[in-house]
Amino acid sequence: MTIRERRFSRDGLTPFQRFYLIFFALTVLSPLIPMIIASFAFRWFWPDLLPSEWWASARHTLTQPIGWDYVFSPYSRLFTAIRNTLVIGFSVTLLCLAISLPAARVLAREKFRAKGLVEFFLLTPLIVPEVAIGLGVLLIFIQLGLAGSFVGIVLAHLIPTVPYAIRVLTSVFQNLSTDYEEQAMVLGANPLKTFWHITLPMIFPGIMAGGLFVFLVSSNVFLLTFFVGRGQVETLPTLLFTKVSSGGVLDPVTAGITLITMLPGIILLLITERFIREEVFAKGFSG
């Protein structure tokens, strides 16, 4: 850009906007630094900005693993929690997509009586608080013997995820003109083949976006897991809850687990940013 373009253009940032972006980036990123420091601390008392003794120098003086040694030891149950989080997340994603796809397709394409009612009902879980659902679901699951089981948690996670999935997928189907499917039918494809060869590949990015969203919600949900899991199934959020709910200072283990808990989200973000297209969201949430 020439100087003139920079001077007159409104495409660029104003100084305040520049400051705002930097401030925002800092609020997101800068807490990570003390968190990393905290995870490597051993003695870190007021008012020191840096620990007076580090994990590395203290770890061999004790009989039990501390700090990162503990985090990565089997005693922390971290890997169990990660595994559970992933297994639950993927199961929820698959199941949720499987039941949301047909519903979304119907909602996007068909007209029928009570459609408005169905749509409204499918979205209300978004606005009814998790505690309300959680306590009730727990009561049901206790009766069904599903409390504290994986299946129970997966089913419970469907409640907050199905509305999102349906919303996103409905907009995906709405964006997909029926022309393609009709063209395929005219070319001789029966409905099943049409779905497999045309519809599915074409909505794949949308499915990915929806799936990601579902996975994200599932891996972030604490309360339902906590209620329904009854302490028997530990995921990253419940593990972290145990650590931070005491209200004390952040010890190195908690700091470490906090950092690890961020990882799935960061990895997901890195590999999938291109799928979380703003456009998909636009349709999903502006209606």
Binding site: A38, L135, F285
Partner: protein
């Protein structure tokens, strides 16, 4: 009398298709509906029955009784809880909305490192609230990083002098977590609506003589309203029903309704658990009702303006 010419062949496929179609719609909706009806609606119904005194699980059956609601409404703690619940839910929604709108508008500009920033700003969206809680504890507690920095530069002497942000009824810590986590969410929604809008209508306003502020106020804002409504509705509903953040960072009794519900449910005394269900019902009805009114109001507003 002349019989109407029957033409069954011609009308048969049509009739069959329509019937099949109706059946197909029901079939395709069934799985999702079933899950939600059984789990979600079932949960609410069960909670409702319990709140009315029907709980064979605890060998209690005084159905129907409004006793638990009466107890609830007559305690002052409950009304304080209601106040705090609203307070902690509304302020971050509102503040977050303003921050999000500005961030979304800023994001449309061209700037260096924009791609990178697109990743950075979405980060809080991707990680659990508890991580936000954890970060907040580290930074904002009385002996936390910020207090230490203030000490270093000589503003405070002792952690006691640092303003209480956590574990306090001011709820600042709770709101910080909410805002930190929700601004990216609302930004994403508003930004995506803005992208769908394109710059054209704003440019049109500009060529008609509107300055940037007028353009925003009269042209951009009304058009991103749908995004704002959905975003704030979801965020408010979430905050209203959020548990872990006020549970950990809140100031203790009286805390938000969800925390009170949890406390009551956690009580070994079964009768108190039924009280929890009464709280739960209040939360659901208030949150659902409010959002219904909000959206209905918005619909009417839009209808008056000829949209919808």
């Amino acid at each position: 009398m002349e019989l109407p010419k029957a033409n069954p062949i011609k009308h048969l496929p049509q009739a069959r298709r329509r019937w099949l179609g109706r059946f197909r719609i029901a079939l395709m909706l069934a799985p999702a509906m079933a899950v939600l009806v059984v789990l979600y609606l079932g949960a609410l119904v069960l909670a409702f029955l319990q709140s009315l005194g029907y709980a064979p699980l605890y060998q209690i059956n005084t159905f129907p009784t409004l006793h638990y609601y009466q107890d609830l409404f007559s305690s002052t703690g409950f009304w304080q809880s209601v106040f705090y619940t609203f307070y902690y839910a509304l302020i971050p929604t509102f503040v977050g909305l303003i921050l999000s709108i500005y961030l979304a508008l800023t994001l449309r500009k061209r700037f260096a490192l924009k791609r990178l920033f697109q990743y950075v700003y979405k980060l809080p969206l991707m990680i659990p609230y508890l991580v936000g809680v954890s970060l907040t504890i580290l930074l904002f507690s009385n002996g936390g990083i910020i207090a230490r920095v203030l000490h270093l530069i000589g503003i405070i002497d002792n952690p006691v002098e640092f303003p209480r942000i956590l574990y306090d009824h001011s709820g600042l810590g709770i709101m910080i977590v909410y805002i930190w986590k929700q601004v990216p969410f609302m930004t994403l929604i508003i930004y995506s609506v803005l992208l769908g809008l394109g710059p054209e209508s704003e440019e049109a306003a500009t060529t008609l003589g509107a300055n940037p502020w007028q353009t925003f106020w009269y042209v951009t804002l009304p058009q991103i309203m749908p995004g704002i409504i959905t975003g704030t509705a979801i965020v408010f509903a979430f905050n209203f029903g959020s548990f872990e953040t006020p549970f950990i960072l809140g100031g203790g009794f009286p805390n938000t309704l969800p925390v009170e519900a949890w406390r009551a449910f956690d009580d070994p005394e079964p009768a108190r658990r039924l009280g929890a269900m009464a709280i739960v019902m209040v939360i659901s009805v208030v949150s659902g009702g409010l959002l219904y009114l909000y959206i209905a109001w918005y619909r009417r507003f839009e209808k008056r303006r000829g949209r919808v």
